[in-house]
Amino acid sequence: MFTLFQAEWFKLRKTNILPILFTGPIVGILIGLFANTDMFPDEANQWTGLLLVMNLTYALLFLPLVTGILAATICRYEHQAGGWKQLLSLPVSREQVFVTKYFLLVFLILVIQLLYFLSFTSVGLVRGLTDTFPMAIVWKSIVGGWIATFPLAALQLWMSTMFKSFAASFSVNVIFTLPAILAINSAKFGPYYPWAQPFSMMYVGGDTTDVFFIPWEQLLTVVGGSFLVFFIGGYIYFKRKPI
């Protein structure tokens, strides 16, 4: 299993992954520069306000979409010139390959989240925010958003092992991500829509007494439940996939 991680790492280094990873902070900086934070009352913490505004677009659109791009990227090597055949003819099981790729994907999303954190801090520093830095809230948001992408990552990995074309798996991603714009406006539907969860988990205005910004029940049932469905679906598909 460890050698598989090593192999994935080698492939990753030749995959042009850095430009994709750096879009996280770039998008963060773009949103941070253009967004308007004047609407908050003076007594509100400036950092929290900035995080709220930046997360609006970042968590709603960028994070779900980039998850799909990363998933397709880590499967690119195998889709070209019979790479699946070569990889699976090695003494490794298909289960191991799938799980390794999933861990790698989740790790890459964590990297993006951390880079986004850096861009958030720099935007704040450039703007010269003087309030105390709300460390707990910011980390809750960064880690929460990361956890909320677990089911999305599982589905996109499934789609990326299935489709050779980037555009195909990306369109599946878009079709599910766009309704999230509506879902977050609905109190009834929003909590149950997996693609709206990155937004809910990063939404600073939520309940701050819990560990994350959404209740545990919602985290376990919606995020956990959809993760299980997508992960098991992808796992079974990959096990039976004719190569």
Binding site: T15, N16, P19, I20, T23, I26, V27, L30, I31, F34, A35, N36, T57, L61, F62, L65, V66, I69, A72, T73, R76, H79, Q80, A81, K164, S165, F166, A167, A168, F170, S171, V174, I175, L178, P179, I181, L182, S186
Partner: protein, 236 residues
């Protein structure tokens, strides 16, 4: 020659779900309004905004955004037919000029997008009629808000086609596309000179036609830059 090449391009589009996407884009835009009006009809009535004009504006708020996503997906599909199967060599070994290959891809994409925009006009008209507003149907506005964004988005189309044909790894053009989508989503906050703002038809002079003119001019410019770059590159 172009006619034959176009036939070839359309042949390659078969059974890839592309026609389904061309239908789904405009349908999705209008169905977001179905949900919107389904949930908030009372609110619109209460506000006195339950009329055609507001409805057309509501539809057009989502259009630019869906359009750019559509452009990103379709261009990547078109380019990946050759890129991901490594068949540029075979295609370009035929007795055809490179500019005509590029032109036929661009024309095919433009044709698909015009179909999508026409479907958008039809769907928004039909759902508007279903909603049964009191005032007259603004046919001109519906057509305007369905097609202006497309012309204003031509620079994005040119850019995406350029980078997805010359870059083999489709992850990069799609990433550029996602950044464009984010910018289009924030259209009202970004400066007028960014091409991703133009499909929103918003500018500081409040003149939607300006975005259309810019789109046509810059779109043609980017098209030629992309085509010349494509012609001069080595085939991998």
């Amino acid at each position: 020659m172009i006619g034959k090449l176009l036939q070839v391009e359309f042949m390659k589009l078969k059974r890839k779900g592309i026609w389904f996407l061309v239908f789904l884009g405009p349908f999705g835009v209008v169905s977001l309004q179905m949900v919107n009006y389904g949930v908030r009809k009372e609110w619109f009535l209460h506000q006195g905004t339950y009329n055609w004009d507001y409805y057309v504006l509501n539809v057009s708020a989502i259009t630019p955004f869906a359009l750019i996503l559509g452009i990103v997906i379709l261009t990547s599909f078109m380019a990946s037919i050759e890129n991901e199967t490594n068949t540029w060599k075979q295609m370009l070994a035929l007795p055809i000029t490179r500019w005509s290959v590029y032109l036929s891809k661009y024309t095919t994409l433009l044709f698909l997008l015009i179909i999508a925009s026409s479907l958008l006009a039809i769907f928004s008209l039909l759902f508007g009629i279903y909603l049964d507003f009191q005032n007259d149907i603004p046919y001109v506005d519906i057509i305007r808000y369905s097609f202006y964004p497309l012309f204003a988005a031509l620079p994005v189309l040119g850019l995406q086609l350029w980078i997805s044909t010359v870059i083999q790894n489709q992850g990069l053009p799609i990433t550029v596309g996602v950044i464009g989508v984010i910018l289009a989503y924030m259209a009202y906050f970004i400066p007028d000179w960014l091409i991703w703002k133009w499909p929103s038809l918003d500018n500081q002079w409040n003149e939607p036609l300006l975005n259309v003119y810019w789109g046509l001019a810059v779109g043609i410019g980017i098209y030629f830059v992309g085509m010349i770059d494509f012609i001069r590159r080595d085939v991998k």
